[in-house]
């Protein structure tokens, strides 16, 4: 079956792409070969004066190159060969001898965008589904079909780097403003306008493109200025990646090389760098995370017979505090659902509604929604002190104070007021869901929805299921969480669930190290160097010391000695330090901004004067505390698969994505090596490092979490 439909109308050759049996268009080998042939035909056909490249799918122009092809690459040489083929085809579009137009509706990404860049003229629809960009670096590779060459030539180096280095996707309007597309039209007239422009181009008309602005001219049109641009970009980049992500750096090199030595040299550089990156561990792990996330988006959250999730139009939020308000705000912003708050007094309801409005306002400020949309969505926020409106809710999430007694009160009240079809969810982070569900008549509809703070920024949601939770409840909670824009993992109802469970020994270890005299800076830096976005001490400040302290007590109670924390946190909270939210923690804060480490804390926690812990052990103790617990919890069935566990750690804690997550990292380290390290640590530092049974078993059988 062919991917293209080709026809000639009014002297214009039309190439309509519709990849069979795929939801989106992508550039596969078959597509490349067919396009090559069709171009031959159009070149030879004297009646064809120009070519229009368009998609016959509803919402996808070309979403990119075929990832499966890229994943199958086994060697650098193969990768090089693949990218050369792509480059040749794209070059061909540019040098066809007849004008080629890209008529873009829907996603136009990666290789698809690179093809469009090689066209003579680009028209895009002003539709929200139209998104244009180069996401390659997010998979640890670079745009290598000329993207690093043609984009800077079209819109200037600075603007191009902005898009390439961050792997950004632009809405059509932004792409138009940036000069990436020549015209913006309503989808209904896309093809007509494209044909009109094609005729004009065939008649010799050439589009006038905006020149660079004064600042860009000054910087980019001379070697010295360009140097400033590239050095600044590199500096900013390293600050962001900590040197862990080679792809953006490589992209920068490719752009720079092409600007300096010309298009052909630039393409050679792109190909060489791509070949190297494509088979690197970093890229492989990023691709795995990408695949895992994609797979999770389709995972209903239960095995066996899968009921349909119930549609959620109305959400009730009990407790309009910080978390409740944010959950409501995200629900309105992301899913456009009706949100009803309930709190004990009107002032509390008002604070919650205002907190939710702030999240919505932020979208307005970022121009993600219009003023009209804001006014419309704002109307979805309401609330009161009674239970009015809860009868129409499809899902209710309680986010009241973390006390079993209070939660029970809420559960009893909810059962009186919600319909039988309503899912009852708890946002608790410490109390077992089964205990919360203990007082209700229908415990099968109680589930945990554990959001992370700040809700509007943190991408992960843990859906906690008890032994009694009904499948329809789980699938509804999972589907709803996804509508809220979250990556959702289903977790079994055990203390700490998944994320806090593996986080606890790690944070405890950080506390021990502090007490043993290691400095805050050393500890935090060890972990950022490992690839965490922030170190454990900074994380404690962010989470809130009181919250962390409470959670650690719960886990100690549940799991005993190995989860025992030092009394550092207790002392800090007794000293009135609550972390960032209170304005003082391990670090100092001024007007909400973090300053230097507060040196007085060493006295508060009675830290040793100086440390004898070797630097390498600092890293190993922190990392392996988490790894060991992750293996143990997986073995206990807390998460459904290593994939879920790794995604949870990456999106919930920020565990270095280029390492693929704790379980993938254990696989890469090897169970045998991990057990050896843990045994060594347990001899030196204590029993808590005793390798968990699962790891020992795996070491004996040379097993892995993931198939090799």
């Amino acid at each position: 079956m062919s991917a293209f439909s080709a026809e000639v109308r009014d002297g214009i050759g039309r190439l309509g792409l519709n990849l069979p049996d795929e939801p989106v268009n992508k550039i596969t080998k078959a597509v490349r070969d067919e396009l090559d042939e069709l171009l031959d035909r159009f070149v030879a056909d004297r009646d064809v004066r120009a070519v229009v490249l368009i998609s016959d799918k509803s919402d996808s122009f070309i979403a990119g190159a075929d990832i499966d092809e890229f994943v199958a690459l086994e060697s650098r040489e193969e990768a090089h060969e693949l990218v050369r083929q792509g480059q040749a085809l794209v070059n061909r579009l540019e040098r066809l001898g007849k004008p080629v137009l890209a008529a873009i509706h829907g996603s136009c990404l990666g290789g698809g965008f690179e093809a469009a860049l090689a066209c003579t003229y680009r028209i895009a629809t002003d539709h929200p589904k139209t998104r244009i960009g180069l996401p390659e670096v997010q998979l640890g590779i670079i745009p290598a079909a000329g993207g690093c060459q043609r984009l800077p030539r079209l819109i200037g180096v600075r603007k191009a780097l902005d898009i390439i280095l961050a792997g950004r996707q632009l809405a059509a309007q932004r792409a138009h403003r940036a000069g990436i597309v020549d015209e913006l039209v309503h989808p209904a007239i896309l093809e007509r306008v494209a044909f009109g422009a094609a005729t004009k181009l065939a008649d010799g008309w050439r589009p006038k493109r905006r020149r660079l602005g004064a600042a860009d001219l000054a910087l980019e049109k001379n070697p010295l200025g360009r140097r400033v641009v590239f050095t600044t970009a590199k500096k900013q980049l390293l600050k962001k990646t900590g040197g862990h992500y080679p792809a953006p750096e490589a992209a920068l090199t490719a752009v720079r090389h092409g600007i300096k030595y010309g298009l052909e040299a630039g393409l050679d550089m792109e190909a060489a760098l791509f070949a190297e990156l494509a088979v690197s561990d970093v890229s492989r792990n990023l691709v795995r995370i990408f695949f895992a996330t994609t797979a999770l988006k389709k995972d209903p959250g239960v095995e066996g017979e899968v009921p349909d999730p119930r549609p959620v139009a109305n959400l009730g939020v009990v407790g309009a505090g910080f978390m409740g308000a944010a959950i409501g705000g995200v629900a309105v912003t992301q899913a456009g659902v009706d949100v009803r708050f309930r709190d004990v007094d009107l002032a509390g309801v008002g604070r919650g509604i205002e907190g939710a409005r702030k999240i919505l306002k932020e979208r307005l400020k970022r121009r993600r929604i219009t003023r009209h949309e804001y006014r419309r969505l704002e109307r979805l926020l309401s609330g009161g002190t009674e239970w009015q409106g809860f009868g129409r809710c499809d899902v209710v999430i309680e986010a009241v104070f973390e006390s079993l007694e209070v939660k029970h009160e809420v559960m009893r009240a909810l059962e009186q007021h919600v319909s039988d079809e309503c899912v009852i969810a708890s946002n608790t982070s410490t109390i077992p869901i089964a205990r919360i569900a203990g007082v209700v008549q229908q415990p099968e509809r109680v589930v945990g929805m554990h959001f992370f703070s700040p809700v509007e920024k943190m991408p992960l949601l843990e859906v906690i299921v008890t032994d009694q939770t009904a499948p329809w409840v789980t699938v509804t909670a999972v589907a709803f969480g996804r509508e809220l824009g979250k990556t959702v993992i289903v977790v079994r109802d055990q203390p700490g669930f998944w994320v806090n469970r593996i986080l606890a020994p790690y944070l405890n270890e950080a506390g021990r190290l502090l007490q043993e005299g290691v400095t805050v800076e050393t500890i935090d830096k060890a972990m950022t160097r490992f690839g965490f976005p922030v170190g454990p001490i900074t994380l404690l400040d962010e989470v809130g010391l009181d919250v962390a302290h409470e959670a650690s007590k719960v886990l100690h109670e549940a799991f005993g000695e190995r989860m025992k924390a030092t009394d550092g946190l207790a002392r800090m909270t007794q000293d009135g330090r609550l972390g960032r939210k209170g304005g003082s923690g391990f670090y100092r804060y001024e007007k909400g901004k973090r300053r230097e480490v507060d040196e007085t804390i060493y006295e508060i926690i009675e830290a040793a004067a100086s440390s004898k812990v070797p630097r390498e052990d600092v890293t190993r103790r922190l990392v392996f505390a988490m790894l060991n617990e992750a293996a143990r919890a997986l073995d206990e069935g807390v998460v459904r698969s290593p994939r879920d566990g790794d995604i949870g750690a990456v999106f919930g804690i920020g565990f270095a994505p280029f390492r693929g997550g704790p379980l993938r990292y254990l696989d890469d380290t090897g169970a045998k090596q991990a057990v050896e390290t843990l045994s060594e640590l347990s001899q030196k530092y204590g029993d808590r490092f005793t390798p968990c049974p699962r790891l020992k078993r795996m070491a004996e059988g040379a097993e892995r979490f993931y198939p090799a």
Binding site: A313, G336, D338, R340, L346, A347, V349, G350, R351, G352, I353, E354, G355, R357, R376, L377, R379, L380, S382, G383, G384, Q388, G389, G391, R392
Partner: protein
């Protein structure tokens, strides 16, 4: 007893409203449309509606916004509703929301609709201030002028006094008489003393205060959370539990400084607010599982010469409505009269009770009826609670229906006077 019409019976299922606040105070940053939407969203929640049940929506507003003149359609485009709910805005001055209820009633009675939301809204914190006619002409002329010379010529006609804005007054366009002057005139003609007016106003405050304290009045209020702060406004801010006759007596009359009796204390204040009522056919209420508060038994409107006693409309409308209901005044267990002015309420009551009025004005041999003060405005009225023109009818309907249920009263009456010499009356029945 026979019914007023042969159509389907219409139920009042629920109602709620925003707090009523004096203009320029707590709700001053909200547009009438915001207030209207708030009341309706809250009604949706309180009545457990999905939104899909609604067939039509009517809303009253007396001073519409020039930017969104059809407030009803803006409300029916709430995200809680499908986009397919037709909506119309109506203006019968202070009886606008009542008229919205009537329109909904008629559509249901005729079988055109099963479920209707009717209400009204007003903000006098955001009244349109107009440019003078000369200045408007100049602006329009400038936008049409084609040459600079023509523009300059137009500009040369400009005079600074053209900038003096025109503020709409609450006056009869046909007579130029303001509402207050009319109330003053009625007090004189009907012999309503200052003392009687002040006592009536005091009663309004005391009863409203009691309704707030025992929760009957606050039950119908949907607290508003003010934009940008989230500060809750949960009560009407004109109600004064500490009102007393001594303080009231100190106030100077506003409209006739020498012989007048109408003061700020015995008149309703300029107010912002909105209210909405849920109407259903009897059958729909039953099949959707709602227990109606009351049913609409009859209604009537009347009008008289605005140059006569402007606010005597109820004295004509009420007997009509009672006749249509087939009941007598003595059958009424509750009466809700809109209190534009104490003098207006007392004048109408005099008319209801007057043999002469009945004979001369109504051509009836008997007076309309004698007021039982224990059943009149039992939670106060517009003088204390406030009077957002377009919304008051929704408030009164809600209050009456709720109280009829509480007291299990079979018949209740609504009476509203309106600008233009109009009167409105409606009879509700419990069963």
């Amino acid at each position: 007893m026979q019914r007023a019409h042969s159509g389907r019976r219409v139920a009042v299922v629920a109602g709620c409203r925003t707090p009523f606040c004096k203009s320029g105070t707590a709700l001053k940053d909200l547009l009438a449309i915001d207030l209207a939407k708030h009341a309706v969203v809250e009604l949706v929640h309180r009545a457990n509606l999905t939104g899909k049940e609604i067939d039509e929506l009517y809303f009253g507003q007396v001073v519409p916004s020039a930017l969104a003149p059809n407030i009803a359609r803006e409300v029916s485009l709430l995200p809680q509703f499908p986009a397919s709910i037709p909506a119309a805005s109506v203006n019968r001055a202070c009886a606008s929301a009542n008229t919205a209820v009537v329109l909904g009633h008629d559509q249901i009675a005729l079988g055109h609709a099963d479920v209707v939301i009717a209400g009204g809204a007003e903000t006098l914190s955001d009244i349109p201030i107009l440019h003078s006619r000369r200045f408007s002409d100049l602006l329009v002329g400038l936008s049409k002028a084609k040459t600079t010379a023509a523009r300059l010529k137009l500009l040369s006609t400009f005079r600074p006094k053209d900038l003096i804005p025109v503020t709409p007054a609450i006056a009869e366009p046909s007579t130029g008489e303001t509402m207050g002057q009319s109330a003053e005139k009625m007090a004189k003609i009907n012999g309503i003393t200052r003392q009687a007016q002040d006592e009536f106003a005091l009663r309004s405050h005391q009863f409203a205060h009691a309704g707030n304290e025992d929760g009957r009045l606050t039950a119908e209020i949907a607290p508003i959370f003010v934009p940008a702060t989230g500060v809750p406004v949960g009560r009407d801010n004109g109600v004064r539990g500490d009102a007393n006759l001594e303080e009231m007596a100190k106030l100077r009359p506003v409209f006739d400084k020498r012989h007048g009796t109408v003061t700020a204390a015995n008149a309703s204040p300029l107010t912002d607010g909105a209210g909405a009522v849920l109407l259903m056919s009897e059958e729909a209420a039953q099949s959707l599982g709602y227990e109606p508060l009351a049913y609409i038994r009859s209604y009537a409107v009347a009008a008289l010469d605005p140059g006569d006693q402007l606010l005597m409309g109820p004295a004509y409308a009420v007997p009509k409505a009672l006749d249509r209901a087939g009941i007598a005044w003595k059958d009424l267990g509750l009466v809700e009269m809109h209190e534009a002015f104490a003098s207006q309420v007392l004048s109408n009551i005099k008319a209801f009770e007057s043999q002469q009025w009945a004979e001369e004005r109504l051509g009836r041999s008997e007076p309309v009826g004698e007021v039982d003060w224990d059943t009149l405005n039992v939670m106060g009225g517009s003088i204390a609670i406030g009077h957002p023109f377009g919304a008051t009818g929704a408030r009164i309907t809600t209050t009456l229906a709720n109280e009829m249920k509480r007291r299990d009263v079979q018949f209740g009456l609504i009476s509203v006077c309106a600008q233009g010499g109009m009167g409105f009356a409606m009879v509700l029945e419990r069963r």
